[in-house]
């Protein structure tokens, strides 16, 4: 398993647990939940950076390269959009909005991994 996917799974899971936990405790979004979503975004940036380095270093994407990058760009929007949507109304429900980021990004990371390895088309 790709170490980046493993790291992604950990960060996404941790973020989702923190956000959903805070929502169950009836907390509005706080530093911890917002930072956990920021960590997901940071992971995506690092993932993109390393993917660029690997590609430029002669490790081609097995699937469609532009599909891979399309996924990554779309994924980068998700945490930012969720953050914006969550702070407009700081209720416990907004923490569930933040909690949806982790699972969503994890699914997208799995898809990106599949595209990279050239497994199955969209």
């Amino acid at each position: 398993m790709d170490p980046f996917l493993l790291a992604g799974a950990v960060v996404c899971l941790l973020s989702a647990v923190l956000c959903i936990g805070a929502a169950l405790l009836r907390q509005p979004p706080n530093d911890i939940t917002i930072l956990s979503v920021a960590a997901v975004e940071l992971l995506l940036v690092a993932y993109g950076g390393s993917a660029a380095v690997r590609q430029l270093g002669g490790e081609p994407v097995m699937g469609e390269a532009w599909e891979f990058w399309g996924y990554l760009l779309t994924a980068l929007i998700v945490p930012v959009g969720a953050f914006w949507w969550a702070i407009l109304e700081r209720s416990r429900w907004s923490n569930l909005v933040l909690g949806a980021v982790g699972p969503t990004i994890f699914v997208m990371l799995v898809r990106m991994e599949q595209i990279w390895d050239g497994v199955a088309g969209l």
Binding site: R90, W93, A100
Partner: protein, 154 residues
């Protein structure tokens, strides 16, 4: 209506005080925010997927890919209308969410009888099984939420 309601909603911190908000504006607060967020994710992914399918391989399965594009439009409409206040947008929401539910069920049923009609190429194939059945559950939650927050209630 929507203009004044927006300021009220901003000041309302949390769900507990939501009762003070006019009924028609309550759709995008509390649980509604999560609903809209999930619809937003589906609108985004359906649009991206439809764009990819139509740009790269439309000739392979025009019907299935047109369906993805249609689903994308429905999700975008549902997301936007749920987030907006007022009776007009409420009706748009009901229409969009109902179309979504009918679409998932019809495509799912067609798949049961004719497995080749819509292979795992659309979001609605197999009652949304490729998306953890969220496409099937989402419109049910959406309709329940819309019913609870129908205009003129209470």
């Amino acid at each position: 209506m929507g203009r004044g309601g927006r300021a009220v909603r901003r000041k309302t911190q949390g769900y507990s005080k939501a009762a003070a908000v006019p009924v028609k504006d309550r759709r995008s607060t509390g649980p509604g925010r999560l609903l809209i967020a999930v619809y937003g994710v589906f609108a985004l992914s359906a649009t991206a997927r439809a764009a990819f399918q139509i740009l790269t391989k439309f000739d392979e399965a025009p019907l299935a890919y047109s369906l993805t594009a249609f689903a994308a439009a429905v999700y975008v409409l549902a997301t936007v209308s749920l987030a907006r206040a007022g009776r007009k947008w409420y009706r748009v929401s009901v229409a969009a969410v109902t179309v979504e539910l009918v679409g998932v069920v019809v495509v799912g049923v067609i798949g049961v009888f004719d497995a080749g009609a819509f292979p795992n190429e659309t979001m609605w194939s197999g009652f949304g099984s490729g998306y953890a059945y969220i496409p099937l559950v989402l419109p049910l939650l959406g309709l329940a939420w819309l019913y609870r927050n129908r205009p003129g209630k209470g």
